[in-house]
Amino acid sequence: MRSGIRKLVLSIHIVVSVGWIGALGAYLALDLTTVRSDDPYLLRSAYAGMDLIVHSVIVPLAIATLLTGMIISLGTRWGLFRYYWVMITLLLTVMATVVLLVETRTIGALAEVAADPSTTRDELAALNSTLVHSVGGLVVLLAVLVLNVYKPRGLTRYGWRKQDQAVRDPI
């Protein structure tokens, strides 16, 4: 991949991946509100906000992070499976994205119940939060961030074979 294009894709990747973490922070603030408050107006707003943030911001950022990450890996000598840190980062990002997409169903259902004017105060207060998933998601994203910054050593067998091939049969 040409240097200019690589830097462009890398810039986009940094924006969307760090943006994902930031959006998750905003989502967490609303999620915590659903746990700490029993004010019906606040709860209705919080669930509506969570639904909006997930569908309009977090899901697009997650998909963009996954795609740009894969493009960078495939377009450079890091590859997708040559180094353990890249492979594990990919696995964690795929996992986080899949869980997120499945969880949108739950968040939509919660928002729908909260938005229903006939939902009572007690029913609103009885709606559980998605705190386990949002905190878990944040932990996973921070782990990915740490791996990307530190890039710990470790060549996979596949990576070793590729390098061995390159040395024996240089192009």
Binding site: L10, Y84, R105, A109, L110, E112, T120, D122, W160, Q163
Partner: protein
């Protein structure tokens, strides 16, 4: 991200005759993830195993479920 340097980049910069083993940090991380994952699965199974929207709505059904008997507060 910066690319790996050198034609024959390997752990420690030396040419390796044998394929490298799995690094220690991968083994430790994998073990931690397995343990945490097993704990989460155990908690899910002990809590009834429901992991759909019903788990988060406090009922088996994500739709409205009346909780107050004899006069609901419709605020």
């Amino acid at each position: 991200m910066s690319e790996p340097v050198g034609k024959r980049e390997s752990d420690g910069g030396r040419r390796m005759a044998q394929p490298p083993g799995m690094p220690g940090w991968v083994k430790v991380s994998g073990l931690v993830v397995l343990v945490v994952g097993a704990l989460l699965v155990a908690i899910m199974l002990l809590s009834g195993g429901d992991h759909g929207p019903g788990l988060h709505t406090g009922a088996g059904d994500p739709t409205r479920t009346p909780l107050v008997v004899g006069g609901a507060d419709a605020s």
